[in-house]
């Protein structure tokens, strides 16, 4: 069936799509164009506008040891955040799915964190993980120095990762729960009759059946870990201590706005953008070929 609306006057449709169009143009296409411009040009040392430098900016960042450290750290950050968030969400969803009572309640409780702005959560977690107060504080009182994100880079990174993973749990939980509930009850019951314990049923029966959802979440989480980490890191560690929580997106900000190396930062952001486009592409490819069981 053809679904098409006809408008008699020509300007009404434009008016309707206008706001969205302006948003996309102003906040996506314009910055992207700017980034592309900066990535392929260099400001002359003594002023006088930008000159075309081709791939020089990219070659420069690829030759930079520090950049690769950041890339590896970002990958680590993304993998651990995604793994942690998805594992916890799946565990919770599996439990809620097993005892349906109060499912509604858990659905809303677990999804709340998703509605919290990352920087706000960051501030909260800074207090939770503050070395001198709270639970961690008392542990530190017994073994001094066992936890101090302010000077230990690994602690700082762990703190940001835990916070980021926590923020994503609600989103992952909802998707996992919905997918689990789509599986006919009798399949897990058949598994129980076949002697499988709940954990084994999860691995052997439920996970394969929710694989499409899990894959979708995997990609979404990876993308989010690469791009949404900025707010958290800025609030919690500002990339520190000594750059040890600096991931790709934060380095873009730091090099560009603190170091005023616009061209380098722009090149980095193009790289990051290509990475996200790549992940999205994989996602679409998968959705096309996704296995359907009946």
């Amino acid at each position: 069936m053809e679904r098409r609306a006809y408008y008699r006057n020509g300007w009404l449709p434009w008016l309707l799509i206008g706001p969205q169009l302006i948003l996309v143009l102003v906040f996506f296409y314009w910055p992207t164009t700017q980034a592309l411009y900066w990535a392929f040009t260099l400001e002359q040392p003594w002023g006088g506008g930008n000159t075309w430098v081709g791939l020089d900016n990219f070659l420069a960042i690829f030759r930079d040891r520090e950049y690769w450290t950041t890339v590896v750290r970002s990958a680590f950050y993304a993998i651990v955040t995604t793994g942690l968030s998805m594992t916890v969400a799946l565990t919770l969803a599996a439990f809620v799915d097993r005892s349906l009572k109060g499912t509604r309640f858990f659905q809303s409780v677990y999804v709340w964190p998703y509605a919290i702005a990352a920087p706000a959560a960051g501030v909260a977690f800074r207090f939770i993980f503050a070395p001198e107060s709270g639970l961690i504080g008392s542990i530190n009182a017994i073994w001094p120095g066992i936890w101090n994100p302010a000077i230990n880079g690994f602690h700082a990174l762990a703190m940001v990762i835990v916070c980021h993973a926590w923020l994503g749990i609600g989103y992952n939980f909802i998707f996992f729960l919905a997918a689990l509930q789509m599986i006919p009850r009798s399949i897990t019951e058949a598994g129980a009759m076949d002697g499988a314990r709940p954990f084994q049923r999860l691995i052997d029966l439920q996970l394969p059946l929710i694989a499409p959802t899990a894959f979708f979440l995997l990609i979404m989480n990876l993308i989010s870990s690469f791009t949404d980490s900025f707010g958290l890191i800025d609030v919690m560690t500002e990339g520190g201590p000594i750059g040890q929580t600096e991931v790709m997106v934060y380095k873009i900000y730091f090099d560009g706005f603190k170091g005023l190396d616009y061209s380098g930062a722009a090149a980095q952001s193009i790289v990051l953008m290509l990475l996200v486009i790549g992940l999205t592409f994989v996602q679409f490819k998968w959705v096309e070929r996704r296995v359907h069981y009946n």
Binding site: P184, S186, I187, E189, A190, G191, A192, M193, D194, G195, A196, R197, Q200, D204, L205, P208, L209, Y293, N294
Partner: protein, 358 residues
């Protein structure tokens, strides 16, 4: 082989009671069929035996051991589900072998046992297909094979054939019978198809609204229904049931006007007290006008069954169904004479529907 004892079992979902106290003994090696209308609690009872539902009250034991608190895997039952519940992402081979894999049976032995079971239900050509690539009947056989491969103490079937067409259903029925004869495993089979129940059961359990109405051999249940419900439920076409009373001369007066001579029931109940008289269609004969006990009726319409036919008739305001084997053509409106066979009249109390012995 295992014996199953169900003692005073009740089931509540939240506040609503769905099983109100069931007592059943199932002997080792017996084939028991639970039959009842939709929603009467058959599946719930079966699932309580399986361990898929908690038992609110009472006790279920298998081989003399109380299983109330045991997980399904500790009870030694295998179940065949109504919608098959096959694992869609596994091949037939893996579906059948999953229980063995879980039980950590070594692979060579596992393959051998899967093959043996697959042979017995003719599934060998399909072992490497997924359930989605099978027909309904083949899926059904996979579900059976999956239950058989574990060599369980008890087989539980929850309306396993309800998604099959009539012909396949008959074929599967004899397959199940054969399996039970060969393996001799205690089996509990839930259905709401009475032909299936009658042909399969060693023992029939008739349930209604969360209660057991009658337990007995199929013929016993058919010939001596314990209640008005069973009388109405078992048998197709259903038994004729007339509410009415006896008069002093041994006649039964149906509330809507029909009068039947039933002298052999004289004295069972005082004249004037209300009862329900039950007569199976095959116990109503077409006779001549001068036969003792004959009463006139007008043919309403005739239902052809092939070898026989059902006469729907009106006897002075009472609707009657009679089974007729005579092939003479009967048109609507033809007057006929009918008579009740003496030896197969059933009486039920009008208050609680229980059988009145005579």
């Amino acid at each position: 082989m295992a014996q199953i004892t169900i003692k005073g079992v009740k089931k509540n979902y939240a506040k609503t009671a769905v099983i109100h106290g069931v007592d059943v003994n199932i002997e080792a090696g017996e084939f028991v069929v639970i039959l009842g209308p939709s929603g009467c609690g058959k599946s719930t009872l079966l699932r309580m035996i399986a361990g898929l539902e908690d038992i609110t009250e009472g006790e279920i034991s298998i081989s003399g051991k109380v299983v109330n608190k045991l997980e399904p895997r500790e009870r030694g039952c295998a179940m065949v589900f109504q919608n098959y519940a096959l694992y869609p992402h596994m091949t037939v081979r893996k579906n059948i072998g999953y229980a063995l894999k879980v039980a950590k049976v070594p692979k060579p032995e596992r393959d051998e046992r899967v093959m043996k079971v697959a042979e017995s239900v003719s599934l060998v050509p399909f072992l490497d297909r997924r359930p989605g690539e099978l027909s309904g009947g083949q899926r059904q056989r996979v579900a059976m094979a999956r239950a058989m491969v574990r060599e369980p103490k008890v087989f539980l079937f929850d309306e396993p054939f309800s998604n099959l067409d009539a012909k396949l259903r008959v074929a599967m029925r004899s397959e199940v019978r054969r399996l039970h004869r060969d393996l001799g495993v205690t089996s509990v089979f839930v259905t709401h198809d009475q032909t299936e129940a009658m042909t399969l059961a060693d023992k029939l359990i008739i349930m209604n609204a969360g209660r057991v109405e009658q337990i007995g051999k199929p013929t016993e249940v058919y010939n001596n229904p314990a209640s008005r419900f069973v009388a109405d439920f078992i048998g197709s076409p259903a038994m004729n049931l007339f509410e009415g009373e006896f008069d002093a001369e041994g006649q039964f007066m149906h509330g809507t006007g029909g009068r039947f001579r039933v002298e052999q029931l004289n004295g069972v109940r005082a004249p004037g007290s209300k009862v329900v008289l039950g007569v199976r269609p095959e116990s109503i004969r077409r006779t001549g006008a001068d036969t003792h006990g004959a009463f006139p009726a007008i043919v309403d319409y005739v239902e052809e069954l092939g070898a026989s036919r059902l006469i729907h008739a009106d006897a002075n305001g009472s609707r009657i169904i009679a089974l007729d084997t005579d092939s003479a053509e009967l048109l609507s409106g033809t007057p006929v004479h009918l008579a009740l066979a003496d030896n197969s009249l059933h009486l039920f109390s009008i208050e609680d529907g229980r059988r009145i012995t005579h």
